[in-house]
Amino acid sequence: MKLVCLGLNHETAPVEVREKFALSEAGVEREVAGLLGARGVEEGVVLSTCNRTEYYAVVGEDGGEQDLENWVCEQRGFLGDRAGLFYVHEARGAAEHLCRVASGMNSMVLGETEIFGQVKQAYRKAHEGGATKGVLNQLFQRAFGVGKRVRTQTAIQEGATSVAGASVELAEKVFGRLKGSSVMVIGAGEMSRQTARALQSRGATSVMVTNRSFDKAVDLANEIDGRAIPFSGWEVELEHLDVVIAATGAPHFVVKPGHVEAVRRKRKFRPLIMVDIAVPRDIDPEVGEIEEVYLYDIDTLQEMADEARRRREEQLKICEEIIREEIDKARLPAVNG
């Protein structure tokens, strides 16, 4: 009896292959049931996310990873080239891989937390379907413990690794919680949408969108549940705002010191954070000289995101140590031999 992990992910397979192997929620349930009928499989869990599809199985003497791979390809009707497509881990290697996946160490965005819930859900489905027994039950519980330890004892999930996330982090440094804060997005492009969404996810309630083409402003406003403002009147709203995101394609400065100076008294000199993610820049750097204005451009945000990624990578060693410790503690012949 041995533990096997067979899978493909964003590192081994392009999206057009990954989507062939991706499974819906109902699909996972069916796959788990089918997996138990595959040759030599005694226990099984199937994990399917947008970036990976993995099969964790306990196989008997008459089964092996090649049988598992054949079975998976047969189920998906995959006839393409398999070279380098799948990765296979066995025994301790498979257990360590699961721990890395559950901790976000194997994710496209290092340290992301969503995967932990996805692994839990995959396990729950398999458990409910009667596909897990002694080995996988213990192994997954151990992996969840590792995920929790990694989350609480390391800094692998700290810091924003995207420009939109860095904008949120800066806004929180100025305002603390963003609950109830007012945001204006100048420009209706993809970056505006991402940043506005990120701010909303942290509690920003009032989001206004303005754009030279009003139709585009309306489209984005509808999409993010915000309010479109005509471009000719955005300055009036400045009085009530906490955060301004500028991302237009204008070849000149859109926001100038005079715009902010005009409303300082009315704002009672409240802090105002301005994020300029446009190139060429939309906000005159002199706006940042105003005492209560915190102005950041795309370079600062990119630098923050890069720094966060670097710091997360530094945490990997500590995470590996935690995994080693936890797997050592596991008394599983299928894992530790």
């Binding site: 800066l170 100025v174 305002f175 603390g176 000199f269 802090p271 005492e291 209560e292």
Partner: protein, 254 residues
């Protein structure tokens, strides 16, 4: 134990400060610093009890007692208000001030050795002294929050965001709110202290009361301007720092 309580309070404050700084370096907000400040507070109370027992009145009769009382009130307000935001980091900034004040108190001669126990105590005089020093504890803490704000503001404005110090600090808005609220609290206690001074049995409008009144007016102007007109955080921070240090300096000269 007597002076031993002051030494213990100082050692605990040093430990609180060191642990706090280490926590900042590791980008962690440790609660240990906060609990150590609780220990500081307890030791200060015992020390004040010792001096109060000797005097038979509020222990504010010499430099050592004033410093100790001020350190105690600073710790008290830190414990009361600190939990509303990142406690350990405020402790990092508060602990050195407490250590400094108690360090002065521990200089030989700061505590008078020959203390006459008061036979007759004027309750208004005792109330005035206690409230005045207590208010300075709050105003000192507001100044500490002001220093924190200036550091955070400078780093955010200059985009030096990568340090543990910035990561561990409360937000700009919270620090501004803290400065305002603690200053308001200190000002209200100072008001009560001045009212108590006017009620004293043998009282006269002396230089001491004049300085206290001017200080009171200046703080009232600062708070009024912030409340009705608004002030950039940096101006409020400089206001609470300059007023605290200025008035402390003038009181020291009297």
């Amino acid at each position: 134990m007597g002076i031993g309580w002051v030494i213990l309070a100082t050692v605990l404050a040093v430990a609180g400060g060191v642990i706090g700084v280490l926590g900042v370096r590791e980008e962690r907000t440790s609660r240990r610093a906060f609990f150590l400040m609780f220990g500081v507070f307890g030791a200060q109370l015992m020390a004040l009890g010792w001096r109060g027992g000797l005097r038979g009145s509020c222990p504010l009769g010499d430099l050592g007692e004033v410093c100790l009382f001020l350190a105690w009130s600073l710790t008290l307000f830190y414990l009361v208000t600190g939990t509303t935001y990142r406690v350990s980091l405020l402790g990092v900034f508060t602990a050195p001030v407490v250590v400094l004040l108690q360090g002065v108190a521990l200089i030989p001669g700061s505590f008078a050795t020959e203390v006459m126990k008061k036979e007759v105590v004027d309750p208004w005089r005792e109330t005035h002294a206690a409230l005045s020093v207590l208010s300075y504890g709050a105003l000192a803490l507001a100044a500490v929050a002001g220093v924190m704000f200036l550091i955070l503001n400078a780093r955010l404005k200059s985009r030096k965001l990568g340090s543990g110090l910035v990561a561990g600090m409360p937000s700009v808005s919270r620090l501004v709110r803290a400065m305002f609220r603690i200053t308001m609290l200190g000002w209200l206690v100072l008001t009560a202290g001045i009212v108590a001074a006017l009620m004293m049995e043998v009282g006269s409008f002396n230089a001491h009361l004049l300085v206290a009144t001017v200080t009171w007016i200046l703080y009232a102007v600062l708070l009024g301007v912030y409340l009705w007109r608004g002030l950039p955080g940096k101006h409020l921070a400089w206001g609470v720092i300059v007023l605290f240090l200025g008035s402390l300096l003038v009181f020291g000269k009297l």
